[in-house]
C-alpha cells in the first residue's frame, strides 16, 4: 500500500468518528499544551536570566573574601575574621597581577549609617556600599551618572526603590543634584564626627546623671550630607546607597579624643589654682587621633575581573591557593541556581507528561473501540489482499495521526498562551525597569519535540490495538456481527 493511501485511509477513519476522535485528540492537546507552555516558560526564563548574567559580566568575575569557604553568593555579606588573610590594598595589587586577571574592584560595606533623609522624609538604610569605580562591578544607571574615579566625598547614588519611596517614581531626573542627609548611629567615629565635643557631651551627661549606668548614655548621631549624582536600578541592587571608596575610608575611620601629657598637666594646674575642694583632676582632651580602620581591617571583598569567563574557575582556584583567601567564580554558583530551572522544567514537564500518558490511554481505548467496530471491515480488507502488516500499519498511522494532531493543536494553544503572556511579562518587567522583548519563545526544538513526542506517543499507544487488528483471523472477522 502506498504511503499516501495510509494517510488518506487513516484520516478518513479518524473523521468518521468525529466526536470520539475529537475527544481523544483533546486529551492529547491538554498534555501537549501544558508541556509546551511549561517548557517554553522555564527554558526562556532560564535563557533570559543567563543572558542577564552574561550582560553584566558576572560570569567573568571571581569574588574574593577573607573566609576561605566563600561561595559566590556570600560575597555580598563580606565579613571579617581573626585569622584570615586581610583583604588589603596590597593584596588587591598582587591579585591584579595574577594571570588572566584584568582588574580588581575593592568593595566594602559601611554599617554605621542608619537613615537617609530627604526633606523631611526619612528612610532606613539597608545597605551602604563603596567599591572601585573601575566598571568591574556593573551598575544599571536609570538617571544621572554612576560614581566615577574622580569622586572623592560628598556624592552618592541611591537605588531606584529609595527614589520611588521618596515620591520620584518615573521622574528620577528630578532627584539628581539634590542633597540628602546620611544619619549615623550614636557611636560613629568617622569623618564628620567631633570626638572632642563627644567627650565633653559625655562628661556633661555623667555629671548631670550622678551614679547612672554608662550604658544608658546615647551620644548624638552625626549627620553627613551627600549629593545624589545617580539613581541605580533596584533590580540589580535594591535598598542600596553607594558612596565613593575615598569617602568610605573616612566614614570608617576611628577618631578618638586623645589625652596628652599637656592635657593632664593642664587639669592638675587648674585644680591647684582653684580653691574648690575635691577638685577633679580629670583631664580634657585637646587633640584627636585618627586611624584608617578600613585599611586596618581590610575590605569586605574583592571582585576580580577575568579576561575570559572560561578562565574564571582556574583564576579562583589560583587565588585561593596562593593567598589563602576565599575565592569563588560565579559560573558554577549561577549554574547551580539555574539548575533550579532545570528541575522546575522537569517537574512541570513531568506533569505535562502525565497528562500525555493519560491521553495515550485514551488513544489506546479509542483504537481498541474502533478496531472492534471495524472487525468486519478488517476482514474485508484482508480478503481483498491486505497483509497483516498493512492492517497493522494502517491502525498505527491512525493512532499516530491522533497524536500528531493533538501535538499540533497543543502547540497552537501553547503559542496562543505565549502571545498573551509575553506582553504581560514585558509590562511587568518594564515597571521594574528591565527592558525586554518577548522573553518566552518557542524554540524550534520544542516545536519539533512536542509534535514528535505526541506522535510517538500515538504510535506507541497504537501498537497493541494495531497488533490486535492484524492478528485477527480473516474468516472470523468476515462473519463478525
Amino acid at each position: 500500500m502506498r504511503f499516501a493511501d495510509y494517510i488518506t485511509i487513516a484520516l478518513r477513519n479518524i473523521l468518521r468518528q468525529k466526536l470520539r476522535s475529537g475527544l481523544t485528540i483533546f486529551a492529547v492537546v491538554i498534555g501537549a499544551t501544558s508541556i509546551t507552555i511549561m517548557l517554553a516558560a522555564v527554558f526562556s526564563l532560564k535563557g533570559f536570566m543567563t543572558s542577564q548574567f552574561e550582560a553584566n559580566g558576572t560570569f567573568q568575575q571571581v569574588a574574593v573574601s577573607q573566609q576561605s569557604d566563600i561561595t559566590w553568593d556570600d560575597h555580598n555579606r563580606g565579613g571579617n575574621c581573626q585569622d584570615c588573610t586581610k583583604l588589603s590594598d596590597d593584596l588587591a595589587t598582587k591579585i591584579g597581577t595574577t594571570p588572566h586577571v584584568v582588574g580588581v574592584a575593592r568593595q566594602t560595606y559601611i554599617g554605621q549609617f542608619q537613615a537617609l533623609q530627604y526633606g523631611n522624609q526619612k528612610l532606613r538604610i539597608e545597605q551602604m556600599v563603596a567599591y572601585d569605580a573601575n566598571d568591574i562591578i556593573k551598575t544599571q544607571i536609570l538617571a544621572g551618572r554612576d560614581i566615577s574615579v574622580s569622586d572623592t566625598t560628598g556624592v552618592l547614588t541611591i537605588s531606584s526603590d529609595y527614589a520611588d519611596k521618596l515620591g520620584f517614581k518615573g521622574k528620577y531626573d528630578q532627584l539628581i543634584g539634590k542633597d540628602v542627609s546620611l544619619q549615623t548611629q550614636g557611636w560613629y567615629t568617622g569623618v564628620g564626627s567631633d570626638p572632642l565635643q563627644a567627650f565633653k557631651d559625655q562628661q556633661a551627661w555623667f555629671s548631670s546623671h550622678p551614679g547612672a549606668d554608662g550604658r544608658d548614655y546615647q551620644p548624638a548621631p552625626t549627620v553627613l550630607t551627600g549629593k545624589i549624582v545617580g539613581i541605580t536600578d533596584a533590580n540589580s541592587e535594591h535598598t542600596r546607597v553607594r558612596v565613593p571608596l575615598t569617602w568610605a575610608h573616612g566614614m570608617m575611620e576611628n577618631q578618638t579624643a586623645q589625652i596628652t601629657q599637656a592635657d593632664q598637666d593642664a587639669a592638675q594646674a587648674k585644680c591647684r589654682t582653684s580653691r574648690v575642694p575635691n577638685c577633679s583632676t580629670q583631664p580634657v582632651p585637646s587633640s584627636v587621633s585618627v586611624s584608617d580602620e578600613l585599611a586596618k581591617q581590610g575590605y569586605s571583598s574583592f571582585i576580580v575581573k577575568v579576561d575570559e569567563s572560561s578562565n574564571a574557575a582556574a583564576v579562583a582556584k589560583n587565588i585561593r591557593n596562593t593567598y589563602k583567601v576565599g575565592a569563588a567564580d560565579a559560573e558554577s554558583e549561577i549554574k547551580s541556581q539555574l539548575a533550579i530551572f532545570n528541575i522546575l522544567g522537569l517537574v512541570l514537564g513531568g506533569i505535562g507528561g502525565i497528562a500525555l500518558v493519560v491521553a495515550a490511554v485514551g488513544v489506546v481505548n479509542t483504537m481498541i473501540m474502533s478496531i472492534l467496530e471495524r472487525t468486519r471491515e478488517i476482514g474485508v480488507m484482508r480478503a481483498v489482499g491486505a497483509r497483516r502488516r498493512t492492517v497493522s500499519l494502517l491502525f498505527t498511522f491512525e493512532a499516530a495521526l491522533l497524536g500528531f494532531f493533538g501535538g499540533v493543536l497543543g502547540l497552537g494553544v501553547g503559542y496562543g498562551a505565549v502571545l498573551i503572556a509575553n506582553p504581560i511579562i514585558n509590562k511587568q518587567l518594564s515597571t521594574n525597569n528591565i527592558t525586554s522583548s518577548n522573553i518566552i519563545t518557542l524554540p524550534i526544538w520544542l516545536i519539533l519535540g512536542v509534535v514528535g513526542l505526541t506522535t510517538v506517543i500515538g504510535i506507541l499507544a497504537g501498537l497493541y490495538p494495531a497488533r490486535r487488528a492484524a492478528k485477527q483471523d480473516p474468516v472470523e472477522a468476515l462473519h463478525y456481527e
Binding site: 500500500m1 484482508r382 480478503a383 481483498v384 489482499g385 497483509r387 498493512t390 474468516v475 468476515l478
Partner: protein
C-alpha cells in the same frame, strides 16, 4: 485444459476446547481453469471451509493446495495476502461493502492494496462498475443502493484486480429470486470470459447451472 486448483488430502481441524472438529477430512479435488463449479452441502458440512482454503483465507491443517502452480499450504501471510489480492475475487452473501464509502471507493479497495496509482484505480473501478451495469451509480453509497445493486458492487470489487478465480459464497442468499437470477447471470457471463467460478450454495437450482458440482458432507466429498 490445465488444472488451476489441485487439492490433495486436505484436512482442516478446529479445536473447540477438548473436542477436535474435522471441518475437512481428507478432501481431494481438482478444478479446471475456466470451469464453473458449485460446491454444495448442508450447513456445517465444510463447504465454506473448503472455499476459504481455496481463497487463501484459511490454511489446511494437513494436505496440499496448489493454485496456478503455487502451493498455498506453507506460504507466509504476505504471499497468501498477495495471492488473494491478485488471483481471487470474493463475493459474499452479505456483500461486505464498506458502508461509509461510495461504490467507486469500495471497488478501488483491492487496487489500493495492489499499489495501483490513484488515477489507474479510478479508471479500473469505473470500468468494473460499468461492466456490472452500475455506470450511473459510481458515487452512491451502499445504503443508497438496492440489494441486487450492492451485490453488483461486490462483484465489481471482485473483478477489479482481474482475478483468475471468483469465489462466491451464497451470492444470492440475501436476494429475492429475480435479483438472484440477475446476479447468477452476471457471474456466468464472467465465467464465459474465462474466469474460473466457484459458487458455494445449498440452492439446488443454482448448483444445477454449474458445469460440475462438488458435494460435501461431514468434511468429505460425496458424489456430485
Amino acid at each position: 485444459m490445465a488444472a488451476v486448483i489441485e487439492i490433495k488430502n486436505v484436512t482442516r481441524t478446529y479445536k473447540l476446547g477438548d473436542e477436535v472438529l474435522n471441518a475437512l477430512d481428507g478432501v481431494t479435488c481438482v478444478v479446471q481453469s475456466g470451469e464453473f463449479v458449485a460446491i454444495t452441502g448442508p450447513s456445517g458440512s465444510g463447504k465454506s471451509t473448503l472455499a476459504n482454503i481455496i481463497g487463501g483465507l484459511d490454511r489446511p491443517t494437513d494436505g496440499s493446495v496448489v493454485v496456478d502452480g503455487q502451493d498455498l499450504s506453507h506460504v507466509r501471510d504476505r504471499q497468501l495476502s498477495d495471492y488473494r489480492n491478485k488471483h481471487i475475487g470474493f463475493v459474499f452473501q452479505s456483500f461486505n461493502l464498506q458502508g461509509n464509502q461510495t461504490a467507486m471507493e469500495n471497488v478501488m479497495l483491492p487496487l489500493v492494496f495492489a499499489r495501483m496509482k490513484p488515477r489507474d484505480r479510478k479508471a479500473r473501478a469505473k470500468e468494473c462498475l460499468e461492466a456490472v451495469g452500475l455506470g450511473d451509480r459510481l458515487k452512491h453509497k451502499p445504503s443508497q443502493l438496492s440489494g441486487g445493486q450492492r451485490q453488483r458492487v461486490a462483484i465489481a470489487r471482485a473483478l477489479a484486480v482481474k482475478p483468475s478465480i471468483i469465489l462466491a459464497d451464497e451470492p444470492t442468499g440475501n436476494l429475492d429470486s429475480a435479483r438472484g437470477e440477475e446476479i447468477m447471470k452476471l457471474l456466468k457471463a464472467l465465467n464465459k470470459q474465462g474466469i474460473t467460478l466457484i459458487v458455494i450454495t445449498h440452492d439446488v437450482s443454482i448448483a444445477r447451472q454449474a458445469d460440475r458440482t462438488i458435494q460435501i458432507k461431514d468434511g468429505k466429498i460425496g458424489r456430485g
